[in-house]
Amino acid sequence: MDWFKSLSNVLYVDLTRKTFWVESREELFNKWLGGIGVATQLYKEEVPKDADPLSPNNSVIFAVGPLTGVYPLASKTIAVFKSPLNNYFSESHAGGRSALAIRFAGYGAIVIRGASDRPVYLVIEDGKVRFREASVLWGMRSTETVGRILREVTAGPGHRTIMRIGRAGERLVRYASVVTETYRHFGRLGLGAVFGAKKLKAVVVVGRKGFKIPDIPTYRSVYDEIHNLAVKSPAMKKYHDLGTAANVLALNTIKALPTRNFTSGDFEYAEEISGEKLAEAILARRVACAGCPTACVHIAALREPYVEEPYFYKIKFISYDHEPLYALGSNLGIGSREGFLKLLDSVEEEGLDAISTGVILAWTTEAFINGIISEKELLTKISWGDYESYIKIVRNIVTQPNEFYKYMALGVEEVAKRYGGLEYAMAFNKVEPAGYHTGPLFVISLMVGSRHSHLDAGAYSMDQELLAAKKQLPTPQEAIEKIVEEESWRQVLTSIAVCLFARGIYKPELVVKCFKPLMKEVSVEELRKLGREIWVEKQMIKYSEGFNPLEIRVPERVLKTPTPHGLIDEDYVKEALRYFNLIITLSHKLRG
């Protein structure tokens, strides 16, 4: 089949009526390329601005792009939905085999509407969608077991993705994730809870089809160029050797590794949980997303003895990255590698977002120490580094045995609003932050980024680059311009659906070249214009949903702990937000 025809197929699934159909949306893929560009338009069609994220009115959109499977490092699926954590348009990206499976199943996007009356999982295979009973899987304690069962009862090993939720999603924890291929996640902003509300336990997609490239010789040569860049690139080698965990020591050295709920940027046990130490002591295997030579996924082998029986052990394989190392390591004062891995394992089993969970646990520890909450609410004692108690709290967040834990399941902002300690409840637009205390640009980007994620603009790098170059901070207006410009280009990268780790490889000129064998003419200027347009589209949606940059709470804590750039000046941040507000208000007026 022709590459563009198969890309333009959008699969619609209605969970309420248990029906499905395919529509050819060539006009959408022609203008918006794919990925976030197309998913944003589908969201506009699908989700009314006042929709409750946990109601059948919310839709889940998965989209891949024109380069998916075609070139190396194009392995990402973009999920778009309304977030139950902050009630805004939001997106979350994941790799694994999800992108290639969707593309080779013959779709550019999948839209999941409505809600089922009882637990189901979907099997999307050979042009059909099967709605299968999931009552037996519902309530199962580990996402790993769910994966194991689905592997056995569905077809297509090697050609499929198995996206599933854990108990956290079923019980509507607002930061529940969707796990795919055991180690990859649609982690942020609560897609797991949206699945749970739809009584959707899992989505299995089997991709057995292929498509033809019009200009084969050019295709092969562009492919080889990117392949060589990828295997020889120092940046990709870094991702392969130590993975993102290399950030732990790098950040700690400049005192930017968030520690004990952002009270410091300097963790005395950073060495113990560093990428270097983990690789030496406990790394067991690396795995890759389908279509990516890098293999950045690092898996540790944890050998645990059974206390009740001598010489009897279990070995668990747990993947680690920088973000969990910060959230469930330094930010909780956990310097024990094994303690960290056990806690991370419990988070994975339940299907929770590691970042949000870690930030909430950090707030809990401080609230407990300050006497805002007691053992009566918490049902355990807690102190920094006590990973065994943290594991108990994680289980309680999911089972929600009392009112306190019902609030814990809503996110750090909500629980702190109810019980106090808002000044150290680390959240921006209700989204718990990633692991960088690098400076003001990062903080601003968390507030204005369209999904409030560290990947919106990668501003933690901007802070660090300024530091390395010994440069002054830009003016607040320049900071916003810089962040928006970077974020706009990233809209292009996530529309063609390449991994953002490969942003150094997929430079604008190369992206143009990638389209040549597909017989699609694009120019660098057109791409940049499109990126900006997608950015505006996303801002306009959020604007209509009530987003107001002037109302964003800046957690006091982030202003009181020095960064490598010194203390963050609140006026600087506020000025940046005012300028940002001006930009989006103007955009809104221009649009009418």
Binding site: G69, G147, G158, R208, G210, F211, C289, G291
Partner: protein, 133 residues
């Protein structure tokens, strides 16, 4: 004659670049023209299984073919004549390791020619093309 060999399956990261390379020989993006198959060995947590044709000297797939579409190659393995193939699938059933893959679009087997194109795209030293001794 050379044949494709799995040097060390433990080095495999499951990127499937070899599978993609195999289909790319025909200008196809997908896995449907691929004669090599990488799947997890029971989940990503257990590592990977690689299935490649072993270039048997007396290949059961050729013996099972009722239409003489599969001819034994010098040095082992088989060569497919698509015009003689009826897509009965006996060859696929005859291969115990599952190395006769299937192209669902044309409903015929995909047979490894031991060309070694995939080897060039394995960045982790899992595959090699070796002289048959």
């Amino acid at each position: 004659m050379k044949r494709l060999v799995v040097v060390d399956v433990n080095k495999c990261v499951g990127c499937q670049l070899c599978m993609l390379a195999c289909s790319r020989r025909f200008g196809v993006v997908g896995h449907n023209k691929s004669a090599i198959w990488v799947r997890s060995a029971g989940g990503f947590e257990r590592g990977f299984t690689l299935v490649v044709c072993r270039a048997c000297r007396d290949p059961p797939c050729a013996r099972a073919c009722p239409t003489e579409a599969l001819k034994v190659r010098d040095g082992g393995g088989v060569i497919l004549s698509p015009s003689k193939c009826t897509g009965c699938g006996f060859c696929r059933d005859a291969c115990d390791i599952g190395a006769v893959m299937w192209d669902y679009e044309v409903d015929k087997p995909v047979i490894c020619t031991h060309c070694g194109f995939c080897v060039g795209y394995c960045p982790h030293g899992v595959l090699s093309l070796e002289e048959v001794v």
